[in-house]
């Protein structure tokens, strides 16, 4: 049974890794077409993606702007909502959290279409800033969840102790609540960052072909056939994801963030 379990998990890992490995290996192709295994391996594609081809460097810059902007904005909106939810537990705060998570819960193409209409009426269609806001709206649910988990982990007796020793609400907030929730806030930030980086359908509708992010550029190129440079994008994105999640696992409690039981180790 134990051996069978290990074999099953390894098989699952293999299947999970297969398409990703194939895409990454294709980046080494020397020619203009994708082959697997790669022919005439070279690292020249990395130079094209990061330095010399403006199509890709522009797309990468846009992706970075949208992802960091959306992550910052999402955390800034999610923080007060999560805090109100935790400190008051009122009906209104619950409604705020529920409605704030709505865009993430419906099929992405519907919110993509909706935001596309929304920006066409508010002069935002095809601007980078509207892309930033759109992703923040779409992914706000993630920091909302992580920050709420962080706030729930605060021992209320710490707050009582602070109050007994004469700390005002603001001081207690600054010295007890904030420090204990920082790892969860950062996790939320990075979850949005990574998912925004990889998001396709919403940014597709709100960009209106006026600019392109890396995922948009890849989708456009899918029609003209693959080029190895696209695979470099895949490697870059994968590296970013692994680094981010490894950092969350290293400095935060990833199993807890994912909802594991606290009593067992």
């Amino acid at each position: 049974m134990r051996a069978g379990g290990t074999i099953f998990m390894s098989l699952a890992a293999l299947l999970l890794a297969m398409p990703i490995v194939v895409v990454c290996a294709a980046a080494l192709n020397g020619g203009r077409s994708m082959f697997f295994p790669p022919r005439d391996p070279t690292l020249a594609r990395f130079g094209e993606f990061f330095v010399s081809e403006p199509v890709w460097t522009n797309a990468l810059t846009n992706s970075i702007i949208v992802a960091t902007g959306a992550a910052t904005l999402a955390v800034l909106i999610a923080w007060p909502v999560a805090y109100l939810l935790w400190s008051t537990g009122s009906k209104l705060s619950k409604a705020l959290a529920g409605v704030g998570s709505l865009p993430f819960a419906v099929p992405p193409i519907v919110i993509g279409v909706g935001l596309g209409f929304f920006w066409s009426f508010t002069w935002g269609l095809g601007h980078l800033w509207s892309g930033v806001i759109s992703h923040a709206v779409l992914l706000m649910a993630l920091p909302l969840v992580t920050i709420s988990i962080g706030l729930q982990s605060i021992d209320r007796s710490h707050l009582d102790a602070a109050a007994t020793m004469g700390a005002t609400e603001q001081v207690a907030f600054r010295t007890v609540v904030l420090p204990q929730t920082v790892p969860y806030t950062i996790s939320g930030f990075f979850f949005v960052l990574v998912l925004s980086f990889n998001e396709f359908i919403v940014i597709f509708f709100v960009s209106a072909s006026a600019y392109s992010t890396v995922t948009l550029q890849i989708f456009n190129s899918l029609r003209n056939g693959y080029t190895p440079t696209m695979a470099v994008a895949a490697i870059t994105f994968l590296t970013v994801s692994i680094l981010v999640f490894a950092a969350v696992a290293r400095w935060g409690d990833l199993p807890r963030l994912m909802g594991a039981d606290q009593t067992r180790k």
Binding site: L16, L84, I109, I218, A233, A234, L238
Partner: protein
Amino acid sequence: MTVSENIQIAAERSPALVRRISPKTVLYAALSTLVVVFCIVPFILVIVISFGRKVDGAGWVWDLTFDNYQRFFVGVLWPDEVTFLYLQQLGNSFYFAVIASVLAVLTALPFTLLLTRLKRSAQAIWLVFILASLSMSEVFIVMGWDILLSNNSGLPKLFQVTGFTQWLKDVGWFQTLRDIGLANPRNVKFKPSGFATILTMSYLVWPYAVILLYPAFSRLDPSLAEAARTMGANRWTVIRTVTLPAIRLPLMGTTLLLFVFLLGSYVSVSVFATPDKQTTAVAIYSNIRGSNLDAPFGSAQAVILLISASVCLCFGHLLNSKAEAR
């Protein structure tokens, strides 16, 4: 948020204002406005525009007509002529989403059970791996499977070179593959096909399935299963009578969530599905951004997709609260 902060700071400076409106009220008002404008208005716009009317060669105008919905359910020429083309597309959406989500949950189930029995540090490493593949963009995943399944450089080529194709022909299974459209006379052929579509969609949500099942599974109390074992139940009896009933609700909830997510998946269907198996999501795209330029009809399709999704989500929520109540 920044606005509300400014107001808060301003409020602190002038005590007269504090007495009248508390900073919390301002914060609530600001957040409510923000959430309503960005999370509700887009949906309302889709719903309102779905009642609009297309103008030939000039986009569309506001209106209150049910033509778009009539076209969706029975076709433009109803009652003289009835077509179910768009209902069929919705049916395809459901078909792909149901099979792919069930497949993903069924295979993620044993995996997650095994995962939660590992040490905490090992779990963290697996979670990093799963989250990394979860966050991979749909376009990369489709690209990967497209290469893997392509006739010239993927699995079909591998099958041919290793003689697996010949073996299939010898055993007689090749004809079966041809009958279900997964082979041409010379070799196996995986795309375009429903198989490739479902495989990719299932792959796409598999990490989500693990992540969603993980909390429920890691809270399973191992002592219950151990007690049953001590009392003489064999392994399968334990799984059937102790483990499965405990995770039944999260299983169904997860399947529903994945199903809703897959209802709107666009890239895998547009790349892998055969033309007669296109889905509502693809139709929405071609109406709003593609060649048809019929935003009202695209919106009507989006509304129908939204309603389907909401019904499923409400059902899932009901299951969840039932699970919490126990």
